[in-house]
């Protein structure tokens, strides 16, 4: 008996260590939501609780971090303005569809929560959104750019510019300037965003009659892309179309330039981040992306957003932060028009009626299904800076 007891205790000790370590993720999410409760409710403001599902631990935690920081900055400003008082309840999805559904259900079951923002990845969003639609709670993606997202249901929206809008614009301009005839493609084949982007790229390349020299793939967590890049180099393309998230994309750019691939890269939404320059340095020059958000723009709104964000979090905001920031403002705007922070249906109708909302991303409206209507800017990295693409 004693023996078993001992064995059991040891196993228990080992497992509790595991559980403790795993807890690190969810509690950190909890703490953050507590920390955001600081602003005190003022008399006349409409109180509203917004649930946030974000990718806060694991390989893509950088995206979730940018998104929640964008949200927190917007929250702080909105609460200071005093018309609406927003509380954020932030949950971690760890980039996994199952966990996103779990925390999503938790938020939906809480009647005090008005609406949801997130999850981060399109893969996760496809799992959570149908559930939200069924429960009659509004859900909006700020970084979900794959085709078919708003079509999930009446309660499903997004303010992320779909890849089918951003990528073709970028490819068209890049081909026009460089006169490219042959393109090579590389993409991450284990993520809905990069896969969706790849399909748009391939379709566009075929439409424009470009010759595709090779199609290469990679998976999350790899750090050596040299084999794929050597193959691309030897196929001598005029342009490389890369559907990558910036973390992998920046490393791919760096390795490609070191290998002697000097042609421009065209990327999707996920490739657009100042972090690319940070990680890849000079190798980042020659990256062309279509984006709703141009961080180095002279627009006073964006300049101020940059300043406030940097003061708050000590780094430059990227597109993910900007889209999240705008998303919360769009929500606040709808809450004001609905006049309530509790009625989920009234909020949904007010949100759907959003038209020509003036955010840092530009003029923003929803179309009939809840998808984005706005203009796309094409930018490129030149001398270590994002500049507007010149033809």
């Amino acid at each position: 008996m004693k023996r078993y007891q001992h064995f059991f205790l040891t196993m228990l000790a080992a497992f509790s260590l595991l559980v403790l370590a795993a807890c690190g993720n969810s509690t950190s999410g909890g703490e953050e939501s507590d920390a955001t409760d600081e602003g005190q409710a003022t008399g006349g403001a409409i109180e509203a609780k917004i649930g946030v599902i974000s990718y806060l631990s694991g390989a893509g935690a950088a995206y979730g971090e940018a998104i929640t920081q964008g949200l927190k900055l917007a929250q702080k400003e909105i609460n200071e303005q005093g018309e609406v008082h927003i509380d954020l309840v932030i949950e971690d999805s760890a980039g996994e569809a199952e966990q996103a559904v779990n925390v999503g259900q938790k938020l939906m079951a809480d009647d005090s929560i008005l609406a949801i923002i997130g999850p981060t990845l399109s893969t996760e969003f496809f799992a959570v959104a149908p559930e939200a639609d069924l429960n009659g709670i509004t859900i909006m993606g700020t970084s979900t750019t794959v085709d078919g997202i708003p079509e999930i249901g009446d309660y499903v929206f997004r303010n992320a510019v779909p890849e089918s809008l951003a990528i073709p614009a970028a490819i068209e301009k890049a081909v026009k300037r460089t006169g490219a005839k042959k393109v090579a493609l590389i993409y991450g084949n284990d993520d809905a965003l990069t896969k969706g982007g790849f399909e748009v790229m391939k379709r566009k390349a075929e439409e424009m009659g470009l010759e595709i020299t090779t199609i290469e793939t990679y998976q999350k967590g790899q750090s050596d892309y040299k084999a794929q890049l050597t193959k691309i180099k030897n196929s001598n393309p005029d342009l490389v179309l890369a559907s990558c998230l910036y973390n992998e994309g920046a490393v791919i750019l760096d390795q490609a330039r070191k290998m002697g691939i000097s042609v421009p890269f065209v990327g999707g939404n996920g490739f657009n981040s100042p972090q690319v320059i940070e990680i890849a340095g000079d190798a980042a020059n020659g990256l062309i992306v279509g984006t709703p958000y141009f961080g180095d723009s002279e627009d006073p709104k964006i300049v101020e957003f940059n300043k406030n964000y940097e003061a708050e979090f000590g780094k430059k905001p990227d597109q993910f932060a900007a889209q999240a920031y705008d998303a919360l403002y769009i929500y606040a705007d709808a809450i004001k028009r609905a006049g309530t922070g509790e009625d989920r249906d009234a909020f949904r109708d007010a949100l759907a009626a959003t038209k020509d909302f003036d955010g840092i991303l530009g003029k923003f409206s929803f179309d009939d299904v809840g998808d984005v209507v706005m203009d796309v800017t094409v930018v490129e990295i030149k001398d270590g800076k994002f500049v507007e693409f010149e033809e």
């Binding site: 196993m11 893509g60 084949n189 790899q222 050596d224 084999a227």
Partner: protein, 293 residues
């Protein structure tokens, strides 16, 4: 293209080999799969980034710092998560495996908090030195990685077979009780082994940082799994097997991408494990005697 891909494959394979050496050393002596090895490797890479990019230290000092830090981590690993479970009655032989998994999760989350998510660049002038022969570009780093992996293999083999400490280590591996009766300080030997293995993980970390210019808190996991695959392929506890297995895996991954479909790259390691377990369960260089443990 063939030569370029060959160089890519050998570079990758050499890194795999150094990671696998750390695995095989711990397994050889303790009979434990150290699941935290990948994360110790990751910490080594971060120390490299920290010392060269942030503090601006020269490369040799970065190597030294990385080895020292990872060896200390190895010491803590042994003292806190392996020693308490060793030699106690009723402790399952799987318990140390689980506790090293715990350590690996702890280290990953710790570096996530300390260094933030996402890739960190590794800037070292040394990583820019290259030679061009015809259309083929070779980086000095690539040669260095290969040379270091060979030196480590030879050094480790000599150390194990010729020196007194090496002999004590092998005696401990053979039978821990008999070795301690014969006057071997087994506690010291085991601690030393785990520290050396971790230090080698640190070396591999810096080399990966330089070669691929990408360091992130998650890099340890996939490298750890590959290292595990390699020691099964090469033979558990075999030094030669770790190096040969690493090179085989690196080359086959690279050539699969070059002449096949890049989507299957990560699958190849595990297809190889299945094949080797069916055909030669003890691994390429494994000895049947090891099964008795």
């Amino acid at each position: 293209m063939l030569i370029e891909q060959l160089i890519n494959g050998v570079t990758l394979g050499s890194i795999y080999a150094i990671v696998a050496l750390g695995f095989t050393l711990v397994f050889g002596v303790l009979g434990i799969i150290n699941m935290a090895h990948g994360e110790i490797f990751m910490v080594g890479a971060f120390i490299g980034v920290l010392t060269t990019s942030v503090l601006g230290w020269p490369l040799w000092l970065a190597f030294l710092a990385s080895i020292v830090v990872t060896a200390i981590l190895g010491y803590f690993l042994e003292v806190f998560s392996l020693r308490p479970l060793r030699g106690k009655k009723g402790v399952s032989h799987l318990a140390p495996l689980i506790s090293t998994i715990g350590v690996s999760i702890f280290l990953e989350n710790l570096s996530h908090h300390l260094f933030g998510a996402g890739n960190k660049p590794f800037r070292a002038e040394f990583a820019e030195i290259r030679f061009e022969i015809g259309s083929v570009t070779i980086y000095l780093v690539q040669i260095t990685i290969f040379v270091i992996s060979v030196i480590l293999m030879i050094g480790l083999s000599i150390w194990l077979s010729k020196t007194k400490a090496g002999k004590a280590l092998r005696a401990t591996a053979e039978n821990i009780e008999t070795a301690s009766i014969l006057g071997v300080d087994t506690k010291k030997i085991i601690t030393l082994t785990v520290m050396i293995a971790s230090g080698m993980g640190g070396i591999a970390g810096i080399l990966v940082g330089m070669a691929f210019n990408s360091v992130s808190p998650q890099m340890g996991l996939s490298m750890g799994l590959k290292g595990l695959a390699i020691i099964i392929l090469g033979g558990m506890g075999s030094v030669k097997g770790a190096v040969v297995g690493g090179l085989i895996l690196g080359l086959s991954e690279t050539f699969l991408v070059a002449y096949g479909d890049s989507g299957y790259r990560d699958a190849i390691a595990f297809i190889m494990i299945i094949l080797i377990l069916l055909i030669r369960p003890q691994g390429i260089f494994g000895s049947k005697a090891a099964e008795g443990r």
